[in-house]
Symmetry: C2
Subunit: 204 residues, 2 copies
DNA sequence: GTCTATATCCAGATAGAC
DNA sequence: GTCTATCTGGATATAGAC
């Protein structure tokens, strides 16, 4: 009996998801320019030609992944922003969450790495550049706002909130890239040490 | 009158230096895989073919740059190690120096970026991998030692010295990549805020 | 939907004239 | 030493059989 349309659709979605998973791994580890379609296809266990039944081009795969990653990051940022809590707790929550997830979820680590690489690279498709242009600022803005809130509450160190936000995200970027590319990195450094950069009170 | 051997040698060295400067710019901005020989040649104002009179291959240029960069970083690390001073001052000196140089020297910023990218990339020539393997640990070890010294002196926060060193360098990596790829980043965040991550005493 | 085979393009590297 | 022209290999993308 022939497969129904719905079954086909299911297979298609499952396969596409598999491609996404493998592509994320490859792009996160090797960057856009350093990743070859062949590698992704091989990792996904399909022929290279078949890739093009799921994605129009290498650019399209990358764009899809980046959009997804940025959206998730922005959602998470908004979640932190909307927390009804002291700034200090928001910061601690965010850092703890990021650390924990980098440590436990390979996929999250790769996602962090993908964003970090893409945002700091000049050799990515124009579509991706535009996408990043539009969506990159939100996490910075939200963290800057939280820092400002914290300064009002007296818990956060002095200094430009925007600069604090840059320090926050660039350090996260550095860490996630490090832990994504080092096979046996051991455990992440204690999140409290990182948090201490921003908080006046050392005994967290 | 024909040029002397010495003059030829001078021209050769000057040109090679020009290639090095441009190659560093390109590799730092676009990574190894994303950089094309043509771009370097164009930036240096010479024909693509001429590149191969100065370097055997793309790999060779990259290797040369990386070796130079790693050596400089290691030298600087040793300098910090040999300072006859309190750990706290060593840390402050190192951070201030790095921050200042990232801010004022394009070339240094590019060098930081090159190392950060290379150390965290899997798609680099094997020679470079071996080179990095052999030379990457020293800065980590030295900073870890300084942290340990600081803990004994009571100025540095508790925690694994090695983890503190990772936090130190990954944050520097993140920052330098950020500032290398953002054209108008404004000023660097205050180095004291970064230093506060490692020091018990907040009033620096 | 999936594969193999192939077309096309581009980057690294070489050859040879000046 | 420098250039233009060219070779070669590899990667993206397409065509067509099953």
């Amino acid at each position: 009996m022939a497969r129904t349309e719905q079954q086909n659709q299911q297979i298609r979605e499952a396969r596409k998801e598999m491609i996404r998973v493998e592509a994320l791994k490859q792009f996160a580890a090797k960057g856009f320019a350093g990743t070859r379609i062949k590698d992704i296809a091989q990792a996904a266990g399909i022929a290279q030609g078949l890739m093009y039944h799921y994605y129009q081009s290498k650019d399209a795969i990358f764009t899809d992944l980046i959009e997804d990653a940025l959206d998730k990051l922005n959602q998470a940022s908004i979640h932190v922003k909307n927390m009804d809590n002291l700034a200090k707790n928001k910061i601690l929550y965010a850092i703890r969450k990021i650390y924990k997830t980098i440590e436990t979820s390979e996929r999250f680590k790769q996602t962090c790495c993908l964003i970090a690489q893409a945002e700091n690279s000049t050799v990515i498709p124009v579509d991706v550049k535009i996408l990043i242009e539009g969506k990159r600022d939100l996490p910075y803005e939200i963290i800057a706002e939280v820092m400002k809130q914290g300064q009002k509450e007296g818990s956060v160190v002095e200094g430009s909130p925007h600069e604090l936000a840059i320090l926050f995200w660039t350090s996260i970027d550095g860490l996630s890239i490090y832990y994504a590319t080092h096979k046996n990195p051991g455990y992440m450094p204690d999140y409290k040490i990182f948090a201490a950069m921003f908080l006046k009170e050392k005994n967290i």
